[in-house]
């Protein structure tokens, strides 16, 4: 039906004072997708904040087990941090490459991101395996429980990110830079950067604050 035509000027909104800027209508798909994904990321950050809170509550509960300062290795963590920060840069390069439709630079950027992510995961896995081998697994104390879950939750996100990254590369290979592929790429980039931000939190709260003897 012809609603655009039916209304001349409707009853003036009784509360309005002055000029009202009319809402222009539904936003384009690109905006909607990114916006929705942003909201998802916010909710993900809420979830992380629970694990941060749990860590803050339980950090002193070592139950006779080791304290943070006794088990953290700053050198490894520094390498991890550098890897992740660099990967954010390369991920950004891949996004730009996707925007200018350059397959070569896209694949290169994504591959480097992937390798850096895998190095990060490998170091983290080794750290975990080493701790468990020394008898400092997550069931040793509430502190270790909180530590393993917070860091592990981030690690799981990075793993999921790597899986997504590979899927993304396969999709560009198979489908090219289609509009929906580009939207997904944008979401992936947001996700990867958000993981970086969370890592900065993990790094500061867990390793920097906890590393002090």
């Amino acid at each position: 039906m012809t609603m655009t035509a039916t209304v001349g000027h409707a009853r003036a909104d009784p509360h309005h004072i002055g000029v009202v800027i009319e809402h222009p209508g539904p936003a384009p798909k690109r905006i909607v997708t990114a916006y929705g994904f942003w909201i998802f990321l916010l909710s993900d950050i809420v979830m992380f904040s629970c694990f941060f809170a749990a860590y803050a509550v339980l950090v002193g509960q070592t139950a006779g087990g080791p304290k943070g300062a006794e088990i953290f290795e700053q050198r490894n963590v520094a390498i991890e941090t550098v890897c992740l920060l660099l990967s954010s840069f390369t991920c950004g390069m891949a996004s730009i490459a996707a925007d200018v439709r350059s397959r070569f630079w896209f694949y290169l950027g994504m591959s480097v991101t992937c390798v850096l992510g895998l190095i990060f995961l490998a170091i983290e896995f080794r750290e975990f395996a080493d701790l468990v081998a020394r008898g400092y697994g997550p069931s040793r104390s509430a502190f270790l429980t909180a530590f393993f879950s917070l860091v592990g939750c981030h690690g799981l996100h990075v793993s999921a990110g790597v899986l997504w990254l590979l899927t993304m590369m396969a999709q560009v290979f198979a489908k090219g830079f289609r509009a929906d592929v580009l939207r997904r790429m944008m979401c992936f980039a947001l996700f990867w950067h958000a993981l970086d931000i969370i890592w900065v939190g993990v790094f500061s709260v867990v390793y920097l604050l906890g590393g002090a003897p």
Binding site: T6, A10, H23, Q61, A63, P138, A142, T145, A146
Partner: protein, 666 residues
């Protein structure tokens, strides 16, 4: 091979769940057989199961909620009978069974009745009210629904395979830890909530994005119908609160599966952390449920009073105030942990402050009725019944927010009566009002008024007869979750409550009868105008049921109560204008992604509960593959040609013109 699963999981010695389970199974198989034999399966698959149409998904959400309402209601009946007979005896339900029933009742009623009901209504109505063609993420919407259904399915599987949690609906540790609950009950509870929680989060993200980013031209924030505002507030709460639930349950599961120590007694775990986390989700949760109900009542009261909503801006402010404050009151759920007077007093007062915007809402509805021309149709009856009932629930709510009073009433039957008072009187009445109000929009015919009114009166009376005695029992010191008791003074009230439950049951039967009678008389009840209630917002501007694209043209909104304005102008101008130029419309294609994904989620959830690890991996790979297949498809939209749009719209327009000219003549 099958983890912990063996024949002992099926309770052959307990006739009640076994018979109930068998009956449900027979019913499901019967319906399936009927569908297959009648050849409806392709229709069901193409038009419903794989549908990404927000209206269809909304209807399926409500259907799920209605079915689960019957399940949760049966639990309630069993509990009321048990407490009526279990005076100085064990009653007919042993503790291990009774404890499952009240845990399942709470879990089901909140997560699988109230949540899907309000999410269903929001899904159905909000895009129509905003004047757009669909929600922001249609396929994700379908995924969200099917994951919610997965959760509901797992809860029901626990009826016959294994057991459900025996810990209450929030599974407080350490009781819910492996040492005190070694069975699979808590695992069923936690995994079904994890899976349906993902679904809810998806729905929340979807609706927030829809309201904020998909509004028709001219639909400024302060022109949105009240229901859209409450939807926005409620879904913001979902997005902010459900991750807390996910994290909390994840911690509990880590404790149970991998020997972590978040909430255990041993190794420094902290029980109070669970309390804080779960209520940091749990209190916003009640506002997630009740805010949409407030929105429904705003629409209903305004429509049936023939007036715009009184104090619209004040209502918007009140809604958003509730949205924010609801995150700052969680501690009132455990005043009795001994946190100290300052903490208790601050949280007590914060909780009372929520009563201010809520009270404002009541008064604004009151003044909407003032000077109105009130039609007491069924939805309006529910609304008036709600206002009266909810005030009483509000009173007792503020009462338990006073810490010294809560020291007497915490965890008592008084508290049980209070939250049923606000959840039945608020959320359920709201859901029923919305059901009656929007049913014609969804299906194109009205519901029978006589059965509807009967349903209202029985439910309304039944509610009071059931729950007022529980207030009194609480004042007599009775605590909740008693499988049996020896105190003579409690008994009469338990018997009255059981009688009330019978009346409530009649109310539910009337509701079912209403549906049956209305479907049978659907031709007589047909709504040809698309606007059976003389509505005010845009959902009434299209036909009933709306075409798949909702609106041939996205309407241009120039003020509050958009459709009311259009009707007023149309009367003056008597639709004297030329036929518009129709254009092709692109709509999202149907997709089985949601259903297939939920299928794998069910497998995975079941396997996790029973520790069948190979099946977990299988389910995980299946779910991932489903998404990849979805991402790989080449055509995600289809086109409805302009001629088809024109054909559908002309019919609709014709009906409407005759309506307006008739109204103009009167």
């Amino acid at each position: 091979m099958l983890g912990k699963l063996d024949w002992s999981a099926i309770p052959f010695d307990q006739p009640i769940p076994l018979v109930a389970g068998a009956m449900v199974l027979v019913a499901i198989l019967g319906v399936l057989a009927w569908v297959v034999v009648k050849g409806h399966l392709p229709y069901l698959w193409h038009e419903w199961i794989t549908s990404v149409d927000h209206k269809r998904i909304g209807v399926m959400y409500i259907l799920l909620a209605s079915v689960m309402l019957l399940r949760g209601g049966s639990d309630a009946i069993m509990m009321r009978i048990q407490q009526a007979v279990a005076y100085q005896s064990q009653g007919y339900l042993p503790p291990e069974h009774y404890n499952q029933i009240f845990s399942a009742h709470g879990t089901i009623m909140i997560f699988f009745v109230a949540m899907p009901f309000v999410i269903g209504l929001m899904n159905l109505v909000v895009p129509l009210q905003l004047g757009v063609r669909d929600v922001a993420f249609p396929t994700l919407n379908s995924v969200g629904f099917w994951l919610t259904a997965t959760g509901a399915l797992l809860v029901n599987i626990s009826l016959v395979v294994g057991e459900f949690a025996r810990t209450g609906w929030l599974a407080f540790p350490p009781l819910s830890e492996l040492s005190y609950s070694p069975g699979v009950g808590v695992d069923y509870y936690a995994w079904s909530l994890q899976i349906s929680g993902v679904g809810t989060l998806v729905a929340g993200i979807n609706l927030v994005t829809t309201v904020l980013k998909l509004r028709t031209k001219g639909m400024n924030y302060l022109r949105m119908p009240m229901f859209c505002w409450t939807t926005l507030a409620s879904n913001l709460l979902i997005v902010a609160a459900f991750p807390i639930l996910t994290a909390t349950l994840a911690m509990l599961l880590l404790d149970r599966y991998l020997g972590f120590h978040f909430f255990t007694n041993e190794a420094g775990g902290n029980v109070m952390m669970f309390m804080n986390l779960i209520w940091a989700w749990g209190h916003p949760e009640v506002y997630i449920l009740v805010l949409p109900a407030f929105g429904i009542f705003s629409e209903v009261v305004s429509t049936f009073s023939g007036k715009a909503l009184f104090g619209y801006r004040s209502m918007v402010l009140a809604t958003m105030a509730i949205c924010v404050i609801s995150f700052m009151v969680w501690l009132h759920h455990f005043f009795t942990m001994g946190a100290g007077p300052d903490v208790n007093a601050i949280f007590g007062i914060a909780s009372m402050i929520i009563a201010v915007p809520t009270g404002v809402k009541i008064y604004n509805w009151l003044f909407t009725m003032y000077g109105g021309r009130i039609r007491l149709a069924t939805p309006m009856l529910w609304a008036v019944g709600f206002m009266v009932t909810f005030i009483i629930g509000g009173l007792t709510g503020v009462l338990v927010a006073v810490p010294p009073a809560d020291f007497m009433l915490h965890n008592s039957m008084f508290l049980v009566a209070h939250f049923h008072n606000v959840i039945i009187g608020g959320v359920l009445f709201g859901a029923f009002a919305g059901f009656e109000y929007w049913f014609p929009k969804a299906f194109g015919f009205r519901l029978d008024e006589r059965w509807g009114k009967a349903a209202f009166w029985f439910t309304f009376t039944g509610f009071y007869v059931t729950f007022m005695p529980l207030y009194i029992a609480g004042m007599l010191g009775m605590t909740r979750r008693m499988q049996h008791y020896d105190v003579a003074a409690w008994r009469p009230w338990m018997i009255i409550a059981a009688v009330g439950m019978a009346v409530l049951t009649i109310g539910v039967i009337c509701q079912i009868m209403q549906l049956v009678v209305s479907i049978r008389n659907r031709e007589a009840l047909r709504d040809r105008t698309g606007d059976p209630w003389d509505g005010r917002s845009l959902e009434w501007a299209t036909s009933s049921p709306p075409p798949v694209f909702n609106f041939a043209f996205n309407p241009d909104v120039r003020g509050e109560d958009a459709y009311w304005e259009m009707k007023a102008h149309a009367r003056q101008q008597s639709f004297a204008h030329e036929e518009p130029e129709y254009q092709d419309i692109e709509m999202p294609r149907n997709s089985p992604t949601g259903f297939v994904c939920a299928f794998f989620a069910t497998i995975m959830g079941f396997a996790l509960i029973w520790h069948i690890w190979w099946m977990v991996i299988l389910g995980g790979i299946g779910a991932f593959a489903t998404f990849v297949v979805f991402a790989w498809r080449d055509h995600d939209e289809y086109v409805i040609p302009a001629e088809e749009v024109a054909r559908i719209d002309r019919v609709n327009l014709e009906e409407r013109r005759s309506l307006v000219s008739m109204a103009g003549a009167v």
